[in-house]
Amino acid sequence: MIGIILRRILIAIPVLIVVASITFFLTRLAPGGPFDAEKKLPQEVIDNLNEVYNLNAPIYEQFYDYFSNVLVGDFGPSFRYPGRTVTEMISTGLPVTFELAFYAILFALLIGLLAGTIAALKRNTFLDYFPMAIAMLGICVPTFLLGPFLVLIFGIYLELLPVSGWDTLPGDKILPSITLGAAYAAYIARLGRGGMIEILGQDFIRTARAKGLTETKVVINHALQGGILPVVSFLGPAIAGLLAGSFVVETIFQIPGLGKFYVEAAFNRDYTMILGTTIFFSAMIIFFNLVSDILVLILNPRARDS
């Protein structure tokens, strides 16, 4: 098993290097400099700026300089916000995005596993059809629609919850977390239902029931471990989707997280910010994929052989 894990890690490293290099050269290739303002700047100012941002050196030297700095956690200065560094912006935005993602996943796991397990146990009854119909809805309604609809209903018409902000008003974390987590709750419910149905049909469950265990014990002690396997292998790739979702949710709810910074950077063509966050996001996604792969290996003895 150690061998498989090492091989996964070895694949992850070239992926990260490829992403980082492609991103670097793409942003350098981009037409128009970062200082293309409405007003034409004097040549000396441009020269000075180029000097500050190290844009005069040959590209391979820039490449080398940039990545030796990145390795020690320095992503360079922002193009758009003079005086601020990309590392600074990442470190202020990241905790917010992590908190949001954490609540979203928590919501998704709670609702999803509960609904999936109940649906599997009460197969082909109302308690199966109804949550599964809602789940289908949750998958089909994209985040950028669900968020505004929730705001419209709970924020504007019912005036129950704040419509934007983060950590400023009580309850302002509820709508963003639900918006971001809803689609995952739906997927987890479907995956959990499928996994549980498969497990519940197996011999060892029949044995456990024959021993006279209560249904709760059968489910919690025996079925759940196998039943949630598909959910675990889904969680890693879900992180990538969660990031994309955070772009939308943070934009809708005006949350000062990494996702909002990224979208703003893309809008403003803040190339150093885009470069830094892209490398950072990629590293995170690759890392979480790795973690979920390893978790699956630990939970499922059969996957170790292949």
């Binding site: 992850a12 793409l26 942003t27 990538a240 772009f247 809008f267 996001f281």
Partner: protein, 283 residues
């Protein structure tokens, strides 16, 4: 001739699937509406009635107007052309790359297969959403680039599915005997391999279209996709969100249209999969 019976069986199953048929009905109506948009739209898509401004649905403007006095119904109809086109074109791009890649990889096997599949593995690890955003930023928000970028992302799963399918066909006796008779690679593809992967291709393609449309709407919502004066459903939703506090109809109608379309495509894709997959017939 066994081929035709597979397809007619599938068709019979599909026709019995009410959800899938509902999806087909909606989709066909949408496509017709999109094609006829210039004829049936009550107003040109860039027609403005600035004096009127935003107005709630009325008999003159069935779905209301936006802040510039533009008819929402007409803009939805024209937007459907862009959204549906993105769905079909980007899926076609993904299809061409993925199917070719999968067939070549699976059919030749060995080192070719190993290298080609490692490439797919590595690309799978890339954070594509971020990559597409990067491309849109660097090369400008061009609609054809959008098609290409989305298509270039979606082919990976297709390549894997097709490769698996080809691997299982490759070792069947009729293929081996055809090989023994010395038929050319091209003939083999055309006569034996391709017809047998058509099923999975059809299923996966219908399930890719909604994903692609979602991706386009996502980008347009962030302001990184389709640019004005062109509008897609994604851009309409973006405007709708901006003004939803005063003018609910600008969000609700595009939102519902988009959701129903995604639903229909998913229902149809699921139905197609059930109909073409012999394993699900017992369930």
């Amino acid at each position: 001739m066994s081929n035709s019976s597979l397809w007619s069986d599938a068709l019979r199953k599909l026709l019995k699937n009410r959800a899938a048929m509902f999806g087909v009905f909606i989709l066909i109506s949408l496509i017709i509406l999109a094609i006829l948009a210039p004829v049936i739209s009550p107003y040109p898509y860039d027609y403005q009635n600035l004096e009127l401004g935003a107005s709630a649905p009325s008999s003159a403007y069935l779905l209301g107007t936006d802040t510039l006095g533009r008819d929402l119904l007409s803009r939805l109809l024209y937007g459907s052309r862009v959204s549906l086109m993105v769905g079909f074109v980007a899926t076609a791009v993904a299809l061409v790359i993925g199917v070719t890649w999968g067939i070549v990889s699976g059919y030749f096997g060995g080192k070719v297969d190993a290298v080609m599949m490692r490439i797919v593995d590595i690309l799978y690890g890339l954070p594509f959403i971020i990559f597409i955003i990067l491309l849109m930023v660097v090369f400008g928000r061009n609609i054809w680039l959008l098609f290409g970028a989305i298509g270039a992302v979606e082919w990976l799963t297709m390549a894997r599915i097709i490769r698996g399918q080809v691997l299982s066909i490759k070792n069947q006796e009729y293929v081996l005997s055809a090989k023994a008779m010395g038929v050319s690679n091209f003939y083999m593809f055309r006569r034996h391999i391709f017809p047998n992967v058509l099923g999975p291709i059809a299923v996966y393609a219908t399930l890719t279209i909604p994903q692609v449309m979602l991706l386009e709407a996502f980008l347009s919502f962030l302001g990184l996709g389709i640019q004005p004066p062109m509008s897609s459903w994604g851009t309409l939703i973006r405007y709708g969100v901006e003004s939803m506090e005063e003018y609910w109809w600008l969000l609700v109608f595009p939102g519902i249209t988009f959701t129903i379309t995604l639903f229909s495509l998913n229902f149809f894709g699921d139905g197609l999969r059930d109909a073409l997959d012999p394993k699900t017939s017992s369930d």
